[in-house]
Symmetry: C2
Subunit: 376 residues, 2 copies
């Protein structure tokens, strides 16, 4: 019964293929969960690369993103041994396989790149990577091509086929969704920061002595955060606290805030209210709970001689201690109507002198590191 035997063999093959497909679909589902469970764009891009490599059983995978303005594609990351090299490569629209896919919006399998006129040898030449075959699909958000996902060199000397293409297209769709959600999130985050910054700056502008103060304090504090090795979420709070630290000045009347002469002790007592008023302004915003103490206590001193509560050392929240150093440095290095700005070097010496009494030692140390590395 040779016919029957053939049948069984055919069945077995079909069965194997389908079982293999099942595994890959389960993997796709898993990869899609991994892709969507972060809103960090850098992380999504990294996961997309890895997913492409894994799902296509390829030697390398990469995600090229469209730069609309410059009309080119750029390699964001690429999982290969010479990652740094690949990072610097740009492709014009229409150039290379990826450029062709981005331009035409059609997926492509090229199993003999050396014979394909569209293949761009530049990347291989610069990376010493030998492209044997390549599968490349467009990444689309609402009909718009935002990038190209590709996998290079199917392992086991095999070729990319139709089934790969179908799976890879599904993966590209998931990558598109993850990237788009992340884009929406970061647009909103930027809107938040920039609106807060613009309003804080407008509030600051009432005080004629302090042009650009909020912006500079925010930059200094972020540099401090970096050298304190704070994590991204803490760094975000540092940024928000810095932006909002002086908003309480809105509650100080013109005749005191704008007084060109040095203030009397009574007038200075009124100015001192700004940190508490600032904290009160943001008090109703549940999501800003973390930054309220930073705003309220940015004029406290580690020796207990600050205001409003005369807190000491460890009782002063870290966010407040960071803003205090940035604030002090900016006050010293900017002109005031009643005194000239100090030279940067002199101001640094002054920070060192105040370290441990007025200012937190660790924070001053981080500030000085940032200064020495030219970041301030």
């Amino acid at each position: 019964m040779p016919a029957k035997k053939m049948d069984i063999e055919q069945w077995l093959n079909k069965f194997k293929r389908i079982e293999e497909k099942l595994k890959r679909l389960a993997l796709l589902s898993q990869l899609s969960q991994i892709l969507n469970s972060t809103l960090d764009p850098k992380e999504i891009r990294r996961r997309a690369m890895e997913a492409a490599t894994q799902l296509m059983k390829a030697e390398a995978g990469s995600l090229l993103l469209v730069n609309e303005e410059k009309r080119h594609l750029y390699f964001e990351v690429a999982l290969s041994e010479r990652e740094e090299d690949i990072k610097t490569i740009f492709l014009n629209f229409g150039e290379g396989i990826a450029g062709w896919v981005a331009q035409h919006g059609k997926p492509l399998i090229v199993n003999s790149p050396e014979k394909d006129v569209r293949f761009f040898k530049g990347v291989d030449e610069r990376t010493e990577f030998k492209t044997r075959n390549i599968i490349c699909v467009p990444v689309r958000v609402k009909e718009k091509i935002i990038g190209v996902l590709e996998a290079i060199n199917k392992k086991g000397k095999r070729r990319f086929n139709k089934e790969d293409l179908s799976l890879f297209t599904s993966l590209a769709d998931q990558v598109a969704i993850a990237l788009d959600n992340s884009r929406l999130y970061h647009e909103l985050e930027e809107m938040f920061f920039q609106t807060a910054e613009s309003l804080a700056e407008a509030i600051e502008k009432r005080d004629p002595h302090t042009g650009g103060h909020t912006k500079r304090v925010t930059l200094y504090s972020q540099a401090i955060a970096k050298y304190l090795h704070l994590d991204p979420s803490e760094t975000k709070w540092v940024k928000i606290t810095s932006v909002l630290h002086d908003i309480g000045k809105i509650g100080i009347e013109d005749d005191i805030l704008k007084k060109p002469e040095e203030l009397s002790p009574e007038e200075f007592d009124i100015i001192k209210r700004h940190s508490t008023i600032g904290a009160e302004i943001i008090e109703p915003v549940r999501q800003l709970k973390e930054v309220i103490p930073g705003v309220k206590y940015h004029h406290e001193q580690v020796d207990g001689n600050g205001y409003p509560d005369g807190l000491r050392g460890e009782d002063i929240p870290m966010l407040a201690k960071i803003v205090a150093v940035s604030d002090t440095y900016d006050a010293m290095t900017m002109d005031r109507p009643y005194r000239k700005a100090k030279d940067k070097k002199v101001a640094i010496e002054e920070l060192k002198r105040c370290s441990g009494t007025q200012l937190d030692e660790e924070v001053v140390e981080a500030f000085i590191q940032a200064y020495q590395n030219g970041e301030i």
Copy 2:
């Protein structure tokens, strides 16, 4: 060859099952794309219901969400003929199948609910829906149970099995990711609105005549947006414009802003600058491009007698015309140092009188509708 025949039959069955599984995995991948391609929580919940029904081949599906504070689960939506009924049902932690799953964090299949002590007949009784069998899995975000996904009555009088459970768990994971991304997005959105509102209110407070003005204008404008049938994205811009419309007052000096007497024409000319100053403050925020004209032109009049540019009719942006009506109504119905507040009814008559000259007719009409329906 009976043995061989058996083999083939077994193979055929196995093959059929695996092919069926393949289809369902492909469906899962599709459903996960659908779930993740929106950040609107209501829409995600609706899609989760539908996905549960479709993937489980069930008669109904539902998503129950945990209310931490009240320690209960609530039906957000349910795809059945008596949707309204189901919407009002709450289950305590531990009550019913879903309550058990939420409490124990373990998935459950109940193929004979009438024999299961955990089964809660209340829902069936109130909905006249007969539960034959039920599959129920926890929805988890980072180890925390945020809800329960369930499907009821497998179609074709079949029972839920292990394979269903594995697929349904994967779906619940995707639902969890989609809900969590949406939650993060809306937390950020709320932070934006509340921070902008708090800062705008602080700015407004300098003017002693206008307590709560920004908040009321924002409420009125949103009511107008509803009766103009604006879509959610337009309504969002209405809200932002309303919150920010008077921030330019930050640029007006105390002696004019806080003057208790009626202003001289020269002083009023200075006050008039606030709309342009407001537009300038938000000008650097790319994401607020849409609202700049609304802020700048909220004192224009359709007859061309407004400021700053004397725009007429259709040349005035819709956002500005909406804020103008809210602003005018609030000015009339609040006390000023130099005149008493008008009665609501009188103010409405006044709006009608100004409709078509000072104010846009369509916007006034929408305002009046909202007023008549008790929403203002």
